[in-house]
């Protein structure tokens, strides 16, 4: 996870106001607070994660992302971040809209279903892929929407969301040079910085 935190942090302006949707144990916010002096909040639904955030001093607000971000006003954050969360929510489109309403920019990371191993497993074995970034079986996965880089970029185009920056990583969250050649085939994790005019 560490390299991903560093990469996201490079995209964040120091002193920015940040909202982290599905902040987990608060590791990203704690990292951004130390390295980018950001202020802000995490939203989290899991109680064990809440306790963890509160213990470490990360400001966390108990909330269900599926209910939207009605408690937050327009453009009240510099960045709204969603790491490894978009594939696990039901209302994907609505949440993307909410993200770019509340935040001036959005940062999204997700596992790429177009990764060659996923394609190979379906093509050769006819089984739902199980890879390092998608380690679950079809019957116990928390993910409800699986998609590829191309799927996501297609959605952004349709929704008039601007892709400001993109990066692809391997399963160890390391940026490599070779996936850049063919990101939708070789990238395991996608990072996007988004905006809307």
């Amino acid at each position: 996870m560490r390299p991903e935190l560093e990469l996201i942090s490079e995209w964040i302006r120091p002193g920015a106001r940040v909202l982290d949707l599905g902040c987990g144990d608060g590791a990203l916010l704690a990292y951004l607070h130390t390295h980018r002096q950001v202020s802000g909040y995490g939203l989290e639904i899991d109680s064990a994660n809440l306790v963890q955030c509160i213990q470490t001093g990360v400001s966390v607000i108990h909330a269900d992302l599926e209910a939207g971000l009605a408690d937050f006003s327009d453009s009240s954050f510099d960045y709204v971040i969603m790491t490894q969360t978009l594939q696990a929510v039901k209302h994907t489109e609505a949440l993307l809209d909410e993200m770019l309403r509340v935040g001036r920019q959005g940062i999204v990371t997700f596992p790429n279903f177009g990764f060659w191993r996923c394609r190979l497993q379906i093509a050769l074995h006819g089984l739902m892929p199980v890879v390092k970034t998608l380690p679950y079986q079809w019957y116990n996965t928390p993910n409800v929407h699986l998609f590829t880089l191309r799927d996501f970029e297609e959605l952004c185009r349709r929704k008039r969301i601007d892709i400001l920056q993109r990066m692809v990583l391997d399963h160890a969250h390391q940026p490599r040079s070779w996936p850049r050649l063919w990101p939708n085939l070789l990238g395991e994790i996608a990072l996007y910085r988004l905006g809307r005019a």
Binding site: S39, Y41, S47, V51, I54, T56, D71, S76
Partner: protein, 386 residues
């Protein structure tokens, strides 16, 4: 004989009294010439006086928040004993905990039952109606007296949470953390309506004598009992009451009279009766008005986030799912205002069937969150002291 207190108890505690000779100007425009506050403390104040925590009590609470007054009576610990003590969420090995009976109370602090020096009779209904702000100002005097310039935390549930909020607004630099539990930024019309019915029950009791019942050697028992029974319903939840009492007839068949036939009736009557023996009707009237008047946004053009703009404290806000007296939505109003004001705040909504009463219950997740938050406060205190 060795001490018989549980090992995680603060043990036997003795209330103390602070006398304040200097007059206190109240929000109602009147002056309180002199006053006394009864309080208890647990734990030890550290060398730089940075580990003090103030607990603010709710409507029927008092200064006896933890430990025991008598060794003989281990059934009656302070009202939040499950949370305060060595090794408990508010760890008295780390913190110096203070709790006082609020002005207008009936447990020793100056209030309606105190003798008015001008008339040599109890103040009764002539005791001024005090506000949450008045309480906070009087608590600040107690802090001065104890040598506490800044609280590590001010904590309160329900009406206590309102005082905690007010502390951050009135004295921004005198509190580092504020814990607002099962509270609301102001009362709803429905909250006020319940308070009004409670007041009418007391005011219409023939033994009330316009509040001067002390002189007649009576107390408005029926009125105060009704007020408490009504209050109690609002502290519980439908599901919680169903689970606790059911709606079976105690004798299995109706008697076609008005005796106690259902468990819930007997519970409410018992709660009402017990309350009359330990609480004063004038104090009850007064504190329901204190609740009704609470509105920190009023001083800031009715903008709660503007009220929080000047605060410096970090906030923890907690609500309980089945609390309909001060529902989670009311806590979220507080959180929303704090977010808009750019303040640091964490918020947790605890699943519970206990209704409003949940804030006094040792619910594991609730206590984990308090413990986690207060451990962080303790770390800050120790880092600063080191």
């Amino acid at each position: 004989m060795p001490p018989t207190f549980p090992p995680d108890s603060v043990g036997q505690v003795i209330p103390q009294t602070a006398h304040f000779a200097e007059a206190l100007a109240l929000d109602c425009g009147r002056m309180l010439d002199a006053c006394e506050l009864v309080y208890e403390t647990y734990g030890t104040l550290n060398a730089d006086h940075s580990n003090a925590v103030l607990i603010c009590h709710a409507l029927s609470g008092d200064h006896h928040v933890a430990g025991y007054h008598k060794e003989a009576d281990l059934t009656k610990p302070g009202w939040w004993d499950n949370c305060i003590g060595p090794g408990k969420p508010l760890d008295t090995r780390e913190f110096f905990v203070v709790c006082c009976n609020n002005l207008g109370g009936c447990k020793g602090s100056t209030g309606p039952t105190t003798i008015n020096p001008d008339t040599r009779k109890p103040y009764g209904p002539d005791f001024p109606i005090v506000t949450v702000k008045d309480w906070v100002r009087s608590q600040a005097r107690l802090a001065d007296r104890l040598g506490i310039q800044q609280w590590a935390a001010v904590i309160g549930g329900s009406l206590g949470g309102m005082q905690a909020m007010q502390w951050a607004i009135t004295f921004p630099d005198r509190v580092r953390h504020v814990l607002v539990i099962a509270a609301a930024p102001r009362l709803s019309a429905m909250n006020i309506a319940f308070n009004e019915v409670a007041r009418q029950a007391i005011l219409s009791d023939p033994d009330f004598h316009h509040g001067h019942y002390y002189e007649f050697g009576v107390v408005p028992r029926r009125g105060l009992m009704l007020a408490r029974m009504l209050g109690h319903i609002t502290y519980l939840s439908d599901a919680g009451m169903r689970a606790k009492f059911g709606s079976e007839l105690r004798e299995g068949k109706p008697n076609f009279n008005f005796d106690t036939e259902f468990e819930v009736e007997s519970y409410l009557r018992h709660q009402g009766r017990a309350f009359v023996d330990r609480f004063d009707a004038n104090t009850y009237l007064l504190i329901t008005k204190t609740l009704d008047y609470f509105d920190p946004a009023a001083d800031f053009d009715h903008d709660l986030s503007a009220a929080f703009h000047r605060t410096l404290a970090r906030f923890l806000v907690i609500s309980f799912t089945s609390d309909w007296r001060f529902a989670p939505a009311r806590s979220r109003e507080i959180v929303q205002a704090l977010v808009r004001a750019g303040r640091e705040v964490s918020y947790a909504e605890i699943p519970s069937e206990y209704g409003h009463d949940a804030f006094l219950m040792p619910i594991p997740l609730y206590h984990d969150i308090l413990r986690g938050y207060l451990a962080r406060v303790a770390r800050e205190v120790n880092a600063h002291a080191a």
